[in-house]
């Protein structure tokens, strides 16, 4: 393998990895506070995409504005889903909640398909997805750079949000021990609703960055969500830096494995996940959850 090719694969890995990392972050953020895996994450992101598409491509709203509107809508929908359905569902065990989110995902996907149609739509983006910058005789796609940089900015933003803001602190408290947090006067419901909203924003941002390069349709998020789950698990379900590490790792490994054994690319990526878990059952940076018998 030539150096040039190795670098190209790395770039592909980082671009794809940023998307995985963002989705993984949303998965971990939610898991830390609510102990739930959300199958509906993909549909929340789709909602943001369809709204952004409709506002900009159909109604001529500036892209940045409809981008924000899309993120906001998905955050509100996620908060509402938690507040009105998840919180009140009688099946409060992890398995019951998992299937509840599955039901939501099927319902929302059906609804979005009816509302917006199932065809491939051209999602507007901030840069032309094909244009490249030339560095010597090496070209790098503007979109790849945008995705990687925007991903980084979001991750840094999340870091400050969780570490420095009041609500972030409350989230960490709730994730450590919801009962004690409640006893100490932390409004647990507000914290949970906002963690659902922030998770939805991260997932939607991933989708909004991804969609212009391919095309927008109701199955856009199937694959990224799958990989985002896997990345979260590799990094450790309780660790935000772990999610980022897992995302990039999965993206880069996939690129190199896919280059040599294309037919088994997906399976091998997952086998690596399993291998990591055999040696580190709680992911690379995750901690064992203490359990009282």
């Amino acid at each position: 393998m030539s150096l040039e090719q190795a670098i190209r694969l790395l770039i592909i890995g980082i671009e794809v990895g940023s998307i995985y990392a963002l989705v993984a972050l949303s998965v971990v953020l939610l898991y830390r506070t609510s102990r739930v895996l959300n199958f509906g994450q993909g549909e929340l992101a789709l909602l943001a995409c369809f709204l952004t598409f409709t506002l900009t491509s159909r109604m001529g709203v500036p892209l940045w504005l409809s981008f924000l509107a899309g993120l906001a809508a998905s955050a509100v929908a996620a908060g509402a889903f938690y507040f009105f359905l998840m919180r009140r569902a009688k099946a409060q065990d992890p398995m019951g909640l998992l299937i509840l989110t599955l039901g939501f995902s099927l319902f929302a996907n059906g609804g979005l398909s009816l509302l917006f149609g199932v065809d491939n739509k051209q999602m507007p983006g901030f840069v032309d997805v094909i244009e490249t910058w030339q560095i010597g005789n090496f070209s790098i796609s503007k979109n790849s750079v945008l995705v990687a940089v925007a991903g980084l900015i979001l991750m840094i933003g999340l870091y400050f949000f969780v570490q420095k803001s009041k609500i972030g602190l409350a989230m960490r408290a709730v994730s450590q021990n919801p009962e004690v947090a409640k006893a100490l006067g932390i409004p647990v419901n507000v914290v949970l609703v906002s963690s659902w909203a922030v998770a939805a924003i991260l997932g939607s941002a991933a989708a909004l960055l991804l969609a212009p390069a391919i095309s927008l349709n109701p199955s856009l998020m199937l694959d990224p969500l799958n990989k985002g789950f896997a990345a979260a698990v590799v990094g450790g379900m309780t660790s935000l830096p772990g999610a980022v590490l897992g995302g990039y790792l999965l993206g880069i490994i996939e690129a190199y494995v896919g280059n040599f054994v294309p037919a088994f690319k997906l399976a091998l990526a997952f086998i690596l996940v399993i291998l990591v878990l055999v040696f580190r059952p709680h992911g690379l940076l995750g901690e064992k959850e203490t359990r009282r018998a």
């Binding site: 065809d119 997805v129 095309s215």
Partner: protein, 410 residues
Amino acid sequence: MRKRVVVGITAGLFAIAAGLSGMAQDIGVTKTKIKIGTWGPTSGPFQQFGRVMIGIEALVNKVNREGGINGRQIELIKRDDGYDPARTKLVVKELVERQGVFALVGGVGTANGVAILEDVRLNQIPWVSPATGSTAFSQVRDGKLRTPTVFASYTNYVIESILLLRHGVNTLKLSKIGIAYVNNAFGAEGLAGVKSEIAELKGKADLVAQVSHEQSESNLALQALKLKESGAEAVVLYTAGDAMISLLREMAKINYKPQILASSVVAGAILQAGPSTQANGAIVAAYIPLPTAVLADGKNGDPRADAAFAELIKLAPDAVRADPLSTIAGWAFAEPLIEGLKRAGPNLNRPNFVKAMESINNWKGSLFNSLSYSPTDRQGNNSVFLVRGVYAPRPGFTAVGGWVSFNNER
């Protein structure tokens, strides 16, 4: 008392008479109605494929509006199978055994169709135009038709890929060939066609790269890189639509410009990939003539395709504008069914209908180039029509020569 017996007997005779007259007709056929069933996914990740049903419905509506067939209206019953073969069998069983349809038309997916094939064979259910280009539906075993009630009209993918490749090698004089395909039965048949034709061409062309993607995969950056490395001058595409858009864009990013030879299945996506990708100039196989709506210069479309398009747009404007080709395909799939029903005459039953279908020979009345069935052949159509995807003056296609038919001479 006596009066009652007489009434009883008369009633009984009427019942028998009604039964007898019913026998000349068949399941799903009454004096005023013919029940026809079709299916495809309208939920789940593959629901785009289900749009074929719009075309079928549009033609049925038109026929009904014009008075039906021999005084009978067609009742089209549509079902969603989510593109899952187990569910396909569920819905087709329901159509046949509970709804009592006379015949099936369309029906999306290869594995999905194969799942009901044994039932169709055992119960001799007429099935016109499975909406998939697989060879499984017109098989001959020990000199006999395996499923004599099935009439395939879709140019099968093996033939389609062979004709695409021939154009690339013989006309465009390209010799290094690559193929990108999706990991399913559709992709596998495209690959099989390309491989067999490469062997037939004996050194005139080489298969230098074959890359594949999973159905769930939507980013094909790696595959683009592999194809570029192989130095393929032409790339045959049997991928999924959205994956193909990604592949073409990734090719553009790395400044790789092969000639694209694409299956009819991804024709719609060719017009969405963008003017600076190789979709601009791609050769695409079509099996029906194109309406004005998808022609680049916006004029001189095929009049019959235009008529179909006008009907379709009334029924489902958004879906048809988004994907005119696969919806019109549905129309074409239903045409031989209508013709068969007409030819079968007023005394409609399944054996008559099968005979009527067999009498379709070199028939040019449909959107297909020409349809021919016979007692020994059920693959009615072997032609494609090559077009080029362009982006000026507007995204659309231009014709490249006329119909090309498959025969084994070169």
